[in-house]
């Protein structure tokens, strides 16, 4: 949780966002992902839709931890897809079929990999 002293004013944030837009405009290879929209939707527990997959209203607040700053594990999956969505849409050359767009599937795959890594670590410890 951030303290008030760590937060920029609304005007400063707006100025920084304007400057970012200006900076990006000169760099066609840079893509900005509008995180503020993502955060607003999630904090309001509103529905989130991406490429045909919908997380209904009432189910999105759990994407962010209680500190209102860091994503939970399902939130990490959704955030990664949000970034890949913006990147794929920007004529990046990344095929749409190159990504699993189902956040639930991405979460399961990530946790399974983690489980395997931890099991391998245990095996190394106790061969």
């Amino acid at each position: 949780m951030l303290s008030a002293a760590e937060m920029p004013s609304v005007e400063t944030l707006a100025a920084a966002n304007r400057r970012l837009k200006e900076w990006v405009a000169k760099r066609p290879r840079v893509q900005v992902v509008p995180l503020s929209k993502f955060m607003r939707t999630v904090m309001a527990n509103q529905a989130l839709a991406m490429r045909g997959f919908v997380l209904p209203a009432g189910k999105t607040r759990r994407l962010i931890q209680d500190d209102k700053l860091h994503p939970t594990a399902p939130g990490c999956a959704t955030l990664a897809l949000t970034i890949l969505d913006a990147f794929q849409s920007s004529a990046s050359g990344l095929a749409e079929s190159a990504v699993y767009w189902d956040a639930q599937k991405v979460l399961s795959r990530a946790l399974e990999t983690l489980r395997q890594e931890q099991a391998t670590a245990v095996k190394k410890e106790n061969p």
């Binding site: 951030l2 303290s3 002293a5 760590e6 937060m7 920029p8 004013s9 005007e11 400063t12 944030l13 100025a15 920084a16 400057r19 970012l20 900076w23 290879r29 992902v33 995180l35 931890q65 209680d66 500190d67 700053l69 860091h70 994503p71 939970t72 594990a73 990490c76 999956a77 955030l79 990664a80 897809l81 970034i83 890949l84 990147f87 990046s92 050359g93 990344l94 095929a95 079929s97 190159a98 990504v99 699993y100 991405v106 979460l107 795959r109 990530a110 946790l111 990999t113 983690l114 890594e117 931890q118 670590a121 245990v122 190394k124 410890e125 106790n126």
Partner: protein, 496 residues
Amino acid sequence: MESKTVQQQYQRGRRLLGALVACSWVLLAPGLRGDATNELKYVPPCRALSAAALANHLPQPGFDAPADGSALDPGDSATILVTQFEKGGHHNQWLIYLEVVPPTERERASRENQPKTIYTTFGHKLEFASARTFVKVRTLGPFVEPEPNRHPPLVEDESARVALDTGFLSLGFDRAAALLCRVHQFQSDAKIQGSFGAGESPFPKAQVAAGRQFAAAYHITDAEERALAGMSPALQGYFGLAEETPVLNKILFKVFDAPSVWSLVRAGHMPSVAIAAGAPTPADPGDWRLPPTSPVFRFPWTIAINGHPALELGAIVTAPRPPFLLTGGVVSLLAANPNDKKKYLTLYVVGARHGGGAANQAPDSPALAAGPPEAKSPEESGSPCDRIVLIGASVTHGFTASEPFGGTNTAHYNLDRYFDAALRIPHHSISNFGNSFFFLQADSLGEQQIERALEAKPTLVVGVDFLFWFCYGKGFDEKARLQHFEKGLQLLEAIP
């Protein structure tokens, strides 16, 4: 004058700790159920402490896998976060860093400790060998969170060399805890009463007879008896660290409820000290960032002086295998004043590292918190996601408030895992250079991350929170925030 008073307190504290370790005996008391660890309150390190750890190049927090054997090597280390709680909700924090060092000629030639002889109520005389390991102890603190009407204390940086009794520490508490769990369960089912005692002189015949009945009722083996009796020298080894560390000694005795003890010590009398062990319960290794197969127990003790409870202890213990041997396998300890629960302190081992290569290969080090080590495809696929590099702060690195220094659970939040899981196409391992401490030094860490990102020859760089601390954070007015933001953009210019 101040330093003289502090010195006197330290000397008094040493004398009482000396008395404690000399007189201690352990009583198996399954009826004792108080468990201070249930109230264990974790306070994350304050920012000033984290900044000091970073500035002083202390090792990355986190644990290396425990090694076999009972020998520590030079360079093996443990980092302990000490938090002292006071009335009014204030707390002070210290960081204690222990590192094994080779002994000097003088240390090598100094007198060895004597083995410890323990008599038990089972009628046996057991001997425990002592072994010294020389350790450099560095203490940084006290640190406090800034408060409007409170002057921050002067932060001290003290270093000392001490001899830890790793012979005693290697006895640990985990095997005794495992036995006590069984006894406690058995007692609940069979309603068998009794106790185990250990001390420095033989017990009366009647007590030995009762003890043997107790041993038979609970099927306690010789090895288990040794594990129980070994708690006394293990505690001696553990308190030996407090005895030799002035800061720890001082704050431990602020918590102790022993006004009468002070008068006894001052008058030169040896107080009667007893340590009662309560009923341990198994704990989840994952909660303590330990490998899943580690034995972990919550273990309560009460220290009584002249028959009165003077200190309640709640420990989390694991096997004392290196590098955890440095603390006798104690992963955390809560010490509370039994008559004033607002006075307590917690000790958390936040780092335990091997001195060799392992210390430099911290599993949770931000630089290494990347995806699976094997590349999905060593071939260049030509995909824009072929070599993804992540840069930024805690969202990128992965963060959970329960593990501010990182740990097993933090691995669930490494953003690279989710990119890796989302891609259906072959790609190289994703490099995650994110750092949860980015907020402390955004400029220098940002520069380092960009350099590393360029070295990785990325096809895609993701900096989802890279610019965050160039706009947010303390110590900036609004104009300075925008100037700092510009600095962040300048750093990003280096990426073609």
